[in-house]
């Protein structure tokens, strides 16, 4: 790690890259590949969803009535909004406007927290009714022998998605700290960019989950 030019604008280029562009392209490609693995990770759950829905179509329409479309809808809007603020944060980083970038990141985290709070209310309401995942399921409102499987899939999908939202909150919080310290500029905003990619994917997965779980008719 010896940089004879460590004072220059290229300070962020790691030793094994030739230039800033190579580093940026690599990071972006790496993130895209990681997103592919994320899609496949959730893909397994989507396959389980498709299989059980094909086997028990009536169960899915029946059970979906227990999900709160309004709360789900609000959450969808909140997440879509957060994607916008995330995109703006990247834009402002590119424009060397660290202050606006910082506030946009803050807005993204706020939206993510709203999402999690709404999710918390949805979950506790279901727990209250006895809709637990798996064997703890005691709800009697749905007359179907495999009702617990629908909710197992529901909890797995939304739970895993929720964990991704939490990870996103952590990453964006870290970006805020770095932004505050002035780490990013028009020359170097790679972490903001690739975290943005991640955040859009988390958003996108929810956009699939919402109609698949809540809006079955």
């Amino acid at each position: 790690m010896s940089h004879t030019d460590s004072m220059s604008a290229n300070a962020h280029v790691q030793h094994h890259f030739v230039d800033s562009e190579q580093q940026f392209d690599s990071a972006k490609l790496g993130m895209w590949l990681f997103l592919v693995t994320e899609v496949l990770f959730f893909g397994g759950l989507f396959v389980a969803y498709i299989v059980y829905r094909a086997w028990n179509p009536e169960l899915f329409t029946l059970a979906a009535t227990q999900l709160d479309t309004v709360m789900g809808g609000i959450n969808t809007l909140v997440l879509i909004g957060s994607s916008l603020t995330m995109a703006l944060a990247i834009r402002y980083a590119q424009l060397n406007d660290a202050k606006k970038s910082f506030w946009m990141l803050g807005a993204t985290i706020a939206a993510a927290l709203v999402f999690m709070v709404i999710k918390y209310f949805e979950y506790t309401h279901k727990f209250h009714l006895g809709i637990f995942p798996g064997e703890a399921y005691t709800f009697t409102g749905i007359d179907h022998p495999k009702a617990h499987i629908f909710f197992s899939i529901y909890y797995m999908m939304t739970g895993l998605h929720g964990i991704h939202v939490l990870i996103g909150i952590g990453l964006i919080g870290w970006l805020m700290v770095k932004t505050k310290r002035g780490a990013f500029s028009a020359e170097y905003y790679t972490p903001v960019e690739i975290t943005g990619l991640y955040w859009h994917l988390v958003d996108l997965i929810w956009i699939f989950l919402f109609p698949l779980l809540y809006l079955i008719d």
């Binding site: 190579q22 790496g30 397994g44 499987i149």
Partner: protein
């Protein structure tokens, strides 16, 4: 010589022989290893770990073979036997074979062969290693806490009901999956973005192509294993009822999920081996590889078709009959690119200048053993025959011919080929050749009888067996001892080589790819200059000086000249 607009001069950079400082001693102390970002050191740590786990898995195998000396109970009971064979499978597959070539040898040589200073994400690379170690710890934990008796396939509902340590084991494998994914991401990005000037896709060494194809499979298949194991863990802890029939789930669905990963995973295990063999055959025949593009693209073809054939593990499972037919049909098409590779390798040797050094010996043994492994795969793809052979010792033998005769022999070939490069020491060639022949004999003696037993109807995973199979089982057991002796011999002369081996020159075998154009061992940043590639990696007819070109920039990075 270059087509860029900036005027860049290139010149030959002679290799420094027997360097005083290199990546092994550039920095010192335990911390400099534990926190290293150098892909070569990370690769070495992987190498040490996989060899350790190979040793563990091998001891378990010897114990199994010894127990099978007699039809009835010999020295362990059925419960123990079931735990031992499960651990043998899980340790060998998840802790040894999957990381063996890509994460160990690949890590050390991929960037060097590309002319890069490191992989694209060095910190991620180190993280992958620690994630792997973390997963291994869980596996060891489950070994210490009663082990696991489900077989490495974790089939439900046995795995949801079994009283053994299923959760810690599957969680360990789940974690190691992430290590594998991140390595794949890292390698693909490295190949795309870190190639030296002039190194077009058509000039990539075939080992790099094979690691690239492997990376694609790792990225696309491993997440599905992760989610499958997560669902299995949830099934055990919460009873979510997706796989457990007692709760309304479906065990065949588990098998589909499991094999969607685990079939492509066998290509994660073997495709890097193909890459090594391409390097060995060309170098030791001193001849350009026959059908470069056929060999390179067949790796990608195998990666692709490999995703469409998982159902051939389930011909007797009660999956739909249409899937059975389609999967059988597609399965045969994996045979084509594989066959093409074998023919290309043999054709490369034609009119070559063949040097039967130890690595080449392994390559030739590989070709023989892997051909058997491949042909018996055709046997298992044929529907009516597979109904008879499924879940018998025939499958066990086939699998070992591909994975051990294939991957392990390729791994050994690669280890001997690159040993002088990454250790800077030569090994005793005579002992190495003797060991190679011992391993070849021991291997065939262990696994050939298993084909016969399997055809005769001996089921796999059997603790006790009918007396009619005893003779063949005993041949197999004796073979396993010969294998054990062979591996001890390998360990012996390699350790001797480390301690007092002769210093290795930079290019002992006359290779043409970039790793031979730098010192043995390599410098901390692989090259003292930015290499420039003019010729293909197998162009033995071109003067060697033209393989040592680099950008002439005297002011460049003078700190470690």
């Amino acid at each position: 010589m270059t087509n860029t607009t900036k005027p860049v001069a290139i010149r030959e950079f002679p290799v420094e022989e027997f360097p005083e400082t290199h990546y092994l001693n550039a920095t010192k102390g335990l911390k400099s290893w534990m926190l290293t970002l150098d892909h070569k050191r990370i690769g070495l740590m992987y190498l040490a770990s996989v060899i350790f786990f190979f040793f563990v898995g091998g001891l378990l195998a010897l114990a199994l073979r010894l127990e099978l000396w007699e039809p009835a109970q010999n020295f362990m009971d059925a419960e123990t036997y079931n735990r031992v064979f499960t651990l043998h499978g899980a340790v060998m597959i998840f802790l040894f074979i999957i990381p063996s070539i890509p994460a160990a040898l690949g890590n050390i040589f991929l960037p060097v062969m590309l002319g890069a200073k490191d992989v694209a994400f060095p910190r991620l690379n180190l993280a992958s290693f620690y994630i792997y170690l973390g997963g291994a710890m869980f596996t060891l934990y489950s070994m210490a806490h009663g082990g696991i008796d489900t077989g490495w396939t974790f089939y439900t509902p046995y795995s949801t009901n079994s009283g053994s340590a299923v959760i810690s084991m599957t969680f360990g494998v789940f974690i190691m999956g992430f290590s594998s994914i991140l390595t794949g991401v890292n390698f693909i990005t490295t190949v795309h973005k870190m190639r030296a000037p002039g190194q077009t896709w058509g000039k990539l060494p075939l080992f790099v192509w094979s690691l690239y194809a492997t990376g694609v499979i790792q990225v696309l298949a491993t997440p599905v294993l992760a989610i499958t194991l997560l669902l299995l863990i949830m099934e055990r802890t919460l009873g979510i009822g997706i796989f457990d029939p007692a709760l309304g789930g479906d065990p065949v669905l588990f098998q589909h999920f499991f094999w969607f990963y685990s079939h492509p995973a066998v290509y994660i295990m073997i495709v890097p081996g193909f890459g090594i063999i391409s390097e060995l055959i060309s170098t030791f025949s001193r001849k350009v590889i026959f059908g470069y593009w056929a060999v390179a693209l067949s790796s990608l073809a195998i990666a692709f078709i490999g995703f469409l054939v998982w159902g051939h593990h389930m011909f007797t499972s009660g999956q739909s009959e249409l899937s059975t037919v389609v999967f059988s049909f597609l399965t045969f098409f994996v045979g084509l690119p594989t066959g093409i590779k074998i023919m290309n390798w043999v054709a490369t040797m034609y009119r070559g200048s063949i040097w039967l050094a130890t690595p080449m010996l392994y390559a030739i043994e590989f070709l023989f053993l892997f051909t058997i492994g491949g042909l018996t795969g055709i046997m298992l793809g044929a529907l009516s025959v597979d109904i008879h052979l499924h879940d018998t010792y025939y499958v066990v033998a086939h699998f070992h011919y591909v994975m051990m005769g294939g991957t392990v022999f390729a791994f050994l070939g690669g280890l001997h080929y690159w040993w002088p490069k990454f250790t800077g020491k030569m090994y005793n060639e005579t002992l190495a050749k003797i060991a190679s022949v011992i391993l070849f004999i021991g291997f065939n003696m262990t696994f050939l009888p298993q084909f016969v037993m399997g055809s005769q109807g001996m089921p796999r995973r059997y603790f006790g067996y009918l007396e009619q199979f005893q003779t063949l089982h005993q041949y197999s057991t004796v073979g396993s001892w010969i294998l054990g002796v062979g591996f001890l011999l390998v360990a012996y002369y390699l350790i001797v080589s480390l301690v007092k081996g002769a210093k290795a020159p930079s290019n002992p075998w006359g290779g043409r790819s970039l790793e031979w154009m730098t010192s043995s061992p390599m410098p901390a940043h692989n090259f003292e200059h930015v290499p420039v590639v003019i010729h293909g990696p197998y162009d033995h007819h071109q003067p060697i000086a033209e393989f040592r070109m680099g950008i002439d920039a005297p002011h460049h990075d003078t700190t470690h000249a």
